[in-house]
């Protein structure tokens, strides 16, 4: 047996496999949750035929999509048209690879070295997340351009303008947390949030950075193209925006990417502001349960917002991004820097 086949490597490979499949499953779950929550908000029942309370509905939908015919407009750029949904999905899945979701574990003594519950630990994890999120825009822009249809092109253009505008605030909100923590590693940022103030308030950065948290959440909605910022696919104006011309599973891939992106943004917000896997009551090795609860709470908030708020107008979106969110993020950053120097 070659030297690189040892329990640690196997455990890592299993971890990668599990994380990736859980992410895909989580997007199935999100589709179900979205439809259920929106149904109850609109006083309907929602899907309730396939499986318990319609829980298997997303799987039925995926099966249906897989058997649909794959259509491509004649004037489309075939190669780019084919790889755009793949790019979207890859970027969405890759961003999760640096998010830690639990403490170290030896799986009850199965492994000689403790295994960290994250795919990889890089010392610039925060920047990696930012970099991969910024690559996500290509899938959408290229899909919009290669379809060679005016609705798609408008959707793609809107998406790139929106993402450039909100990426700045997103990055500045990240930077203010990085300044507090003094590290770019997500694991260390989470560990910095352990302990309590006055015995009962957890030392989460949300209490030190409430403005940063709000900016991060808002910019996160814009980055994931969700309502009330879902301009790239505004149905009433653009049919379906950048994925108008897509069908079958390549359309499904865009959906997958959107939901995985939501999960990733929520997971990053959890790690940066809500103390990651840290929480009371549960023993350390069950920390991932806390992680999932917090991520679910943010996801629920996103769904709730989508079905409550109407879409902004496009000029309002730009004005809000550049004239309100960006200055707020800048002031927050400078104030944080001043306080860190003054108190630290």
């Amino acid at each position: 047996m070659p030297a690189f086949v040892n329990p640690t490597v196997v455990a890592h490979l299993v971890l990668i496999f599990v994380v990736m499949n859980l992410l895909v499953l989580s997007s199935a779950f999100m589709v179900w949750m979205e439809r259920k929550v929106c149904a109850y908000i609109q006083d309907r029942v929602g899907p309730n035929r396939v499986g318990y309370e319609g829980a298997l509905q997303p799987f039925a939908d995926v099966l249906k999509l897989l058997f649909k015919e794959e259509l491509r407009p004649k004037a489309a750029d075939a190669f780019i048209f084919a790889i755009a949904p793949i790019l979207s999905t890859v970027a969405a899945l890759a961003a999760f690879s640096v998010v830690p979701f639990g403490t170290e574990t030896t799986l009850f003594g199965l492994l000689s070295e403790p295994l960290r519950l994250e795919v990889t630990d890089v010392n610039v994890a925060v920047l990696v997340v930012f970099a991969i999120t910024s690559m996500g825009v290509y899938g959408i822009v290229l899909a919009g351009w290669s379809s060679n249809s005016k609705y798609s092109l408008l959707g793609g253009l809107r998406s790139s303008a929106q993402m450039i505008s909100y990426e700045l605030s997103y990055g500045l909100a990240l930077a203010s947390v990085v300044m507090l923590a003094g590290t770019l590693s997500l694991r260390e940022i989470v560990l910095n949030q352990s302990g309590y103030w006055f015995q009962f308030i957890p030392r989460w950065y949300i209490f030190l950075q409430p403005v940063g948290f709000l900016i991060f959440l808002t910019a996160g909605v814009a980055e994931t193209n969700r309502a009330p910022f879902d301009f790239p696919e505004a149905e009433q104006e653009l049919v379906a925006g950048y994925h108008t011309e897509y069908s079958s599973m390549s359309f499904g891939l865009f959906f997958l990417a959107e939901y995985v992106n939501m999960v990733t943004v929520s997971a990053v917000a959890t790690s940066l502001f809500l103390g990651g896997w840290l929480g009371p009551l549960l023993p350390d090795w069950l920390g991932w349960i806390w992680f999932m609860i917090k991520v679910l709470a943010i996801l629920f908030f996103y769904v709730w917002m989508r079905w409550t708020l109407p879409r902004y107008r496009y000029d309002q979106l730009m004005e809000f991004g550049w004239k309100w969110l960006l200055p707020a993020a800048l002031i927050n950053l400078v104030a944080t820097a001043a306080l860190v120097i003054w108190l630290g």
Partner: protein, 171 residues
């Protein structure tokens, strides 16, 4: 051959081939994408050199921000071949001069690189940890190289103001 060397040759090959593709492509959109691929390969080379910070900034700034603007322009022009976007500016004489200049540049580059020693930063782990540490990079930029840094920022500001002035000239 160790993994580092294999990685170097793979990334270097991708970078060179993609860059050649950028120039050879007629379709501007494909050129833009090949340039992104080339930037990605460069980032891979940085990772191999134990400089993850440079790698990630390379992706964020070049592949993430600047190339999105390129895409934006190509999409707005809706140009499917280079001829749509702009007719060739240079005549045959201009082409000849351009070819001569680029050959000069290539010779200069080869000459310059051959004069540069092979181990510039040294190989001991302490030096490597030093040059890849984010706080070290920050300190170097804002103390030793503060002047160059500020001058660059003014340069960028000037180009931004220029863009605004040109855009609003007609009004």
């Amino acid at each position: 051959m160790d993994l580092n060397a294999i990685g170097f040759f793979v990334f270097a090959a991708i970078a060179v081939l993609a860059s050649l593709g950028v120039v050879a492509q007629r379709n501007p959109m494909h050129s833009v994408m090949l340039l992104i691929v080339s930037f990605g390969a460069l980032a891979g080379l940085y990772v191999l050199l134990d400089a993850p910070f440079s790698a990630v900034t390379q992706i964020i700034i070049y592949a993430g921000a600047i190339m999105v603007l390129f895409l934006f322009v190509v999409m707005l022009l809706n140009a499917h071949t280079e001829a749509d976007a702009a007719p060739p500016v240079l005549g045959p004489r201009g082409m000849q001069i351009g070819a001569l200049l680029s050959m000069l540049l290539a010779v200069e580059l080869v000459w310059g690189l051959s004069r540069l020693g092979l181990t510039w930063f040294g190989n001991d782990p302490a030096t490597i940890a030093n040059i890849s540490s984010v706080s070290r990079i920050g300190l170097a930029i804002f103390t030793t190289h503060a002047f160059a840094f500020e001058v660059t920022s003014i340069l960028i500001l000037v180009s931004m103001v220029g863009a605004v002035v040109i855009a609003r000239r007609g009004q």
